[in-house]
């Protein structure tokens, strides 16, 4: 056989064709009794329906958590979770926290050192010492 094929898997490039939002679920936990949940209760009744309507791709769960501070927990496609405590926050601030969780990729935060990361080869190619004019020292 002159040439064989090597079986691989084509790599995903989210956003090149379709874009899949990485946050798949948001859990909102509140307490009916505690004072730190006052803003959260207002958020759940006033802001959350609109937020859910604007982001249909996120499954939203609301559940009480007795005598605990209110939290928002995001579940991501890569299997990780992120949670933010929203005690004593106003509804607007809670919405900002929910947007943070919605926009996150689920990965751990890391410093991006290169301006571009790409699967494609460099167009210019890698510099070769054996090509081009040789210069005397």
């Amino acid at each position: 056989m002159p040439v064989k094929g090597i079986k691989t898997v084509a790599a995903a490039r989210n956003g090149v064709g379709a874009f899949i939002l990485q946050c798949k679920r948001l859990d909102f936990h509140y307490c009916n009794y505690g004072g730190s949940s006052r803003g959260m209760l207002a958020f759940l009744t006033q802001t959350l329906p609109n937020f859910a309507r604007e982001n249909p791709q996120i499954e939203i769960r609301v559940s009480p958590r007795h005598s605990k501070h209110p939290i928002i927990k995001g579940h991501y496609i890569n299997g990780r979770e992120k949670s933010i405590c929203v005690r004593n926050l106003e509804p607007n601030d809670i919405l900002a926290k929910a947007m943070i969780l919605k926009d996150a990729s689920g990965e751990k935060l890391k410093v991006q050192k290169k301006p571009v990361t790409s699967l494609n080869e460099s167009v210019r190619g890698i510099w070769s010492p054996y090509h081009g004019d040789l210069r005397g020292v």
């Binding site: 079986k7 679920r25 791709q57 499954e59 090509h131």
Partner: protein
């Protein structure tokens, strides 16, 4: 001496099915809040608590609870969730929106695409028919894309590229990237937004199932016989592998296979509900947008010999390898840059630590330069199905790879 806490110890050892007598589970079951559970259905030992004849209650709230409990107990009878449950599933609606599926595709069909044949053998409720249609569409679109974009690819590389774009491994990875979760066990009470299939029993030998295939190839039992590439087109599937027969009922499937069937079923569902243009767009956005470097799929055994045969077939002059530059021939790290020339044309160039290695690399570069030819302005046959399409011009068809 401390006593062993038997209750706790037993709960870690026993499966949830065996713990039906625990008070918590009885309570949960009686109130019927297992609607979105992924656990296996509890065998109804406490089902005699509320008979159907208790219609005399005046408490409306209580009656509502009783009715819903009855409904959920009815759901336990079905192998897969009932059709109307799809409208109440948040998971399913979120998946529908996450994939930007057309609104003409109802959530009920998406729920059906999530039910594997191993979960529900009834073809009216599982995704087998949708997956068959989706599989044909996928292979058609992928094949025409590959053949028209790279008309000179060897068949083995086409098989590998097909596998990379539409193989079960890729489809399973796509299902994972779409955020599809698996149910532990299929059942009527499970959330319809979960992928439902019966798993392979742990420890079962998967290679036995492949041995038991139903390929149309004659003399398939003769494993030692040589199988030509051409025969793979006739007898094997689109990846050059032997065709496997349908899974017998009662057996489980792997998570990879069930995920792949789901992705195919989504493709078929889009075609059925939203039509061909939507299916094609879905294919381009989710499948063709993936990154695949076709140049890395080649595995040559003797590139210099192949190149010589190719030049003989195409009436080029015999390829000759010449040193372009070199450094450190007598040192520990020599580098030779070798070019392969056919007459005055340089076909390829490669650098290596020995003359042989550099020549092989140069021949490899020359062969890839030939096989990876891609015409400009590629059109695929299915583009003629669009309205107002320009007249069809025949695409470039190549002789094929050299036969050595």
């Amino acid at each position: 001496m401390k006593r062993v806490q038997l209750q706790r110890w037993s709960s870690t050892v026993l499966s949830p099915r065996a713990r039906t007598v625990s008070r918590l589970h009885q309570h949960v079951f009686a109130t019927g809040s297992r609607c979105q559970s992924t656990a296996s259905p509890l065998q109804a030992e406490s089902s005699a608590q509320e008979g159907p004849g208790d219609a005399g209650f005046e408490d409306v709230e209580l009656m509502k609870h009783v009715r819903s409990a009855h409904r959920r107990k009815d759901m336990l009878k079905y192998p897969s969730p009932p059709v109307d449950a799809a409208l109440n599933s948040a998971k399913l609606a979120a998946l529908h929106a996450r994939l930007y599926l057309p609104s003409r595709l109802p959530p009920q069909t998406l729920a059906r695409a999530l039910v594997d044949a191993s979960a529900d053998p009834n073809p009216d409720f599982n995704n087998e028919s949708l997956a068959t249609l989706g599989h044909d569409l996928l292979t058609y679109y992928t094949t025409e894309h590959l053949l028209c974009t790279y008309p000179r690819l060897p068949l083995t590389v086409i098989f590998a590229a097909m596998y990379a774009y539409a193989g079960p491994k890729t489809l399973a990875a796509m299902a994972r990237e779409w955020g599809v979760e698996h149910a532990s066990l299929p059942g009527g009470e499970v959330d319809p937004g979960l992928l439902q299939f019966r798993r392979v029993a742990p420890g079962s030998d998967l290679s036995v199932a492949t041995y038991n295939n139903r390929t149309p190839r004659p003399y398939a039992a003769q494993k030692a016989w040589r199988m030509t590439v051409t025969s793979k087109i006739f007898y094997d599937d689109e990846f050059g592998d032997a065709i496997k027969g349908p899974a017998t009922s009662g057996e489980g499937v792997t998570a990879e296979l069930a995920s792949a069937t789901f992705v195919r079923a989504v493709m078929g569902a889009i075609y059925l509900h939203a039509g061909r243009p939507a299916a094609k767009r879905f294919f381009e956005q989710h499948f063709l947008s993936r990154h695949l470097n076709i140049a890395q799929l080649f595995n040559f055994s003797q590139p210099a010999r192949d190149l010589a045969r190719l030049c003989a077939r195409e009436n080029f002059e015999l390829p000759v390898a010449r040193i372009i530059s070199e450094t450190g021939r007598k040192s520990r790290h020599p580098v030779f840059v070798v070019g392969i020339f056919s007459g005055k044309d340089k076909l390829g160039e490669g650098a290596g630590a020995s003359l042989i290695e550099a020549r092989e690399r140069a021949a490899l570069a020359a062969l890839k330069g030939w096989y990876l030819y891609s015409p400009l302005n590629v059109r695929v046959p299915s583009s003629m199905e669009e309205e107002g399409a320009a007249p069809w011009k025949p695409v470039y068809v190549d002789l094929g790879e050299v036969i050595v």
